[in-house]
Symmetry: C2
Subunit: 71 residues, 2 copies
Amino acid sequence: MKELEQICEDIRKRRKSLGIIQTDLAEISGVSLRSLKEIETGKGNPTLSNLLKILNTLGLKITLTSRIKND
Amino acid sequence: MKELEQICEDIRKRRKSLGIIQTDLAEISGVSLRSLKEIETGKGNPTLSNLLKILNTLGLKITLTSRIKND
DNA sequence: AGTCAAAGGGCAATATAGTGCACTATTAGG
DNA sequence: CCTAATAGTGCACTATATTGCCCTTTGACT
């Protein structure tokens, strides 16, 4: 799976596990509903700030890890 | 430290540890030098695709983790 | 089938990220 | 100090992300 798709999927799964709808997640995060939809469906190319707003609401954060083991 | 700043710093540190200059990292990644500079200096608000291109070149990837322990 | 809630998507307008160019600033070596 | 390499930045232009509006689709429930 592509990295972008994985992120989108994670967001959707997390939202559902929290039992909230797109409208609420968007509003709480301070992002437009339209943009959240685009992110969750894997279309478009979100800005980092929009992504971080949503992840923050979902209690998630970005960590950078190496692609290679022991590196 | 802000999350965005942390990402910028990680990118710069990684680039230096690989011993390459901005010009080369930008070219290999397929991102403009101008954009890479903005990312490394923490200015601007990169798109996810540009960020991923650079991380990919650096051998890094994004993983989403919970902000809360045991969650 | 009918209804309602939630999600998907087209479109146009606006905001802003991406880029190239030219220049300045900083850093490292001599 | 001088020079060369590397990094930072102002500006203008282009490309595209963001947004709101409105309509369609899907899914769940009765």
